[in-house]
Symmetry: C2
Subunit: 326 residues, 2 copies
DNA sequence: ATGAAAGCGCTAACAT
DNA sequence: ATGTTAGCGCTTTCAT
């Protein structure tokens, strides 16, 4: 199969390349007749525009990069997928960059994104380095942040679930289900923007009610047993995410502790396994669809220089009641 | 921040653009001294090569497309992620194209991939249309197939788990665990290459032992109850994939049927939930790492016109024993 | 409404 | 070892 250039199309259609370009891009003036002729030839030849040439000329690639710290995480995976889907509908292609929480990889991806001249970047979470300096490298490429509070909000837009309110809802729910001594389970290392907000929501809720807030720093299953030995009155766990909730449930079951009778458990994220575990996991669900929608909308606004800088957009979560709580 | 072109670098380094290009691409001859000077300027200016221009000139994009039918499926998601990771290590970027089993989307993605002049395409599964004709559109772009038997093996490479052997292993395992009347669970619609191979492995194993092979076509949970009403002697299910296995386990438990005492269940794919469900699911695990490795290796060979056409590569599976079988 | 031509940033063939 | 230059396919300004 031969490969045609705009010159070939012009010749075959008996017009100039400028006219072909006008028709393709639906820009400038051309007669209906010319349009039909050109489009016919394009179809016949199966002509495909060369986006390298187009980008070289216009400096627009119609391509977006997504930086994601951990694509194995089902929340991130779903989010990225939804964003890609919505971007494709708007005729943008997407480079998905799984940084694996690895700074070196993140840098390599950023270089790649700059070389490929992506029109914009969506930065998702990532806490591995405090205040990672996008500024130096990304000054020229517009970007927005999801779940990562930017160093300088005035050069971007910040989008996130309302993690704090979600945690408040979770904690209040436990209390309304007669928990008197709830504890939170989290990992010591992972202190992303969103995790911090969840912790804050939990603590604040208990503070207001003058209840001690105990923190179980999970390292291995034994750390759960240990915690319960020290805090035997614990009657509920708010796990900072579903993976931790599931680990907790499995450990508690192995310890012959009944859920929810002895200890209730609530998670955060609503991952697929939450429905499958027994008892099924009560959890806080993030509105992935909405986050994706808002992210796409705002990165495109940034690209078009629409004045949306400095905005912080919080998306509501909702409680999914299942059987790990009363 | 200013943006520099190769011309600027040449001027700043006091050499010609050709020399800069040589240094950048580590091609041709240049003195150590020149190299150092050029690299220093590149670093100082934070110069980034313009891949649009490079691709326009060379017709090489260092970009690969992956066509995947359903990225929500955890097997596909992991596979795609591994492939992307390995490609990035080899300095290739990846466009992940989730076709959603939608022919129109697949076509749109293919057009995009051609416009963007990807160097190669990795086609994963997809059974939605028998013998989808890549030929017309992909004659020019090298591609390889994973889990989708190509119409013409002589223009590609076919890579897949050994699904048939996996199914044989699963079936034999059930029989070795004293199952006398195993049945297979599958969906009527989904007849991808790999699903067919699994079914074949199941049937062939039972045929050889002169055992009737019953097929439960799953449509909803009631179809499971119905099947058991009609085939009350069923003592084991081989589910064509883990999702179906998990659905079956949940339904059977709701029916107060004990697993594995009354009915054993074995799945295929080893998705994350398989560990979480109770009883945990015995399943056949695919070697995703290996498939990804082989896929990357072979698409790069195709791109370099290395003679690997017509090959069929089968990757071994392995049995993961858990508690849904004896 | 259409065409001619410059030029985006790069590579590679050719010259020195 | 280094420089000069044509040209990849496209868009866009300026003519007409």
């Amino acid at each position: 199969m031969e490969t045609y250039s705009i010159k070939d199309i012009a010749k075959l259609a008996g017009v100039s390349v400028a006219t072909v370009s006008r028709v393709i891009n639906n820009k400038g003036k051309y007669s209906q007749q010319t349009k039909e002729k050109v489009l016919r030839i394009i179809k016949e030849t199966n002509y495909k525009i060369d986006t390298s040439a187009q980008s070289l000329r216009t400096n627009i690639t119609h391509t977006i990069g997504i930086l994601v710290p951990d694509i194995e995480n089902s929340f991130f995976a779903n989010l990225v997928q939804k964003i890609e889907e919505k971007l494709f509908e708007k005729h943008y292609s997407t480079f998905i960059c799984n940084t694996d929480k690895n700074e070196k990889k993140e840098k390599a991806y950023l270089t790649m994104l700059e070389n490929k001249k992506v029109d914009g970047i969506i930065v998702i979470s990532g806490s591995y380095r405090q205040g990672f300096t996008f500024k130096s490298s990304l000054k020229s490429i517009p970007y927005i942040c999801i779940d990562r509070s930017p160093k300088n909000i005035n050069e971007t837009v910040f989008i996130s679930s309302n993690h704090k309110q979600g945690a408040i809802d979770a904690t209040n729910y436990l209390l309304s289900r007669h928990s008197i001594h709830p504890a939170i389970i989290m990992e010591k290392k992972n202190l992303s923007t969103s995790i911090k907000a969840r912790l804050e929501g939990f603590k604040q809720t208990l503070d207001q009610r003058h209840i001690d807030s105990n923190v179980l720093y999970y390292s291995n299953n034994h750390s759960i047993k240990e915690f319960i030995d020290i805090h035997p009155y614990t009657d509920a766990f708010f796990a900072i995410n579903d993976n931790l909730a599931i680990t907790a449930i499995m450990t508690l079951k192995a310890m012959k502790i009944r859920i929810p009778e002895d200890i209730q458990v609530i998670g955060f994220d609503n991952i697929p396994s939450a429905k499958v575990i027994e008892p099924s996991l009560t959890t806080i669900s993030q509105n992935i669809e909405e986050i994706a929608e808002v992210a796409v909308e705002n990165i495109l606004k940034r690209i078009q220089n629409f004045p949306n800088l400095g905005q912080q957009i919080l998306i509501a979560t909702h409680l999914v009641k299942r059987n790990s709580t009363y």
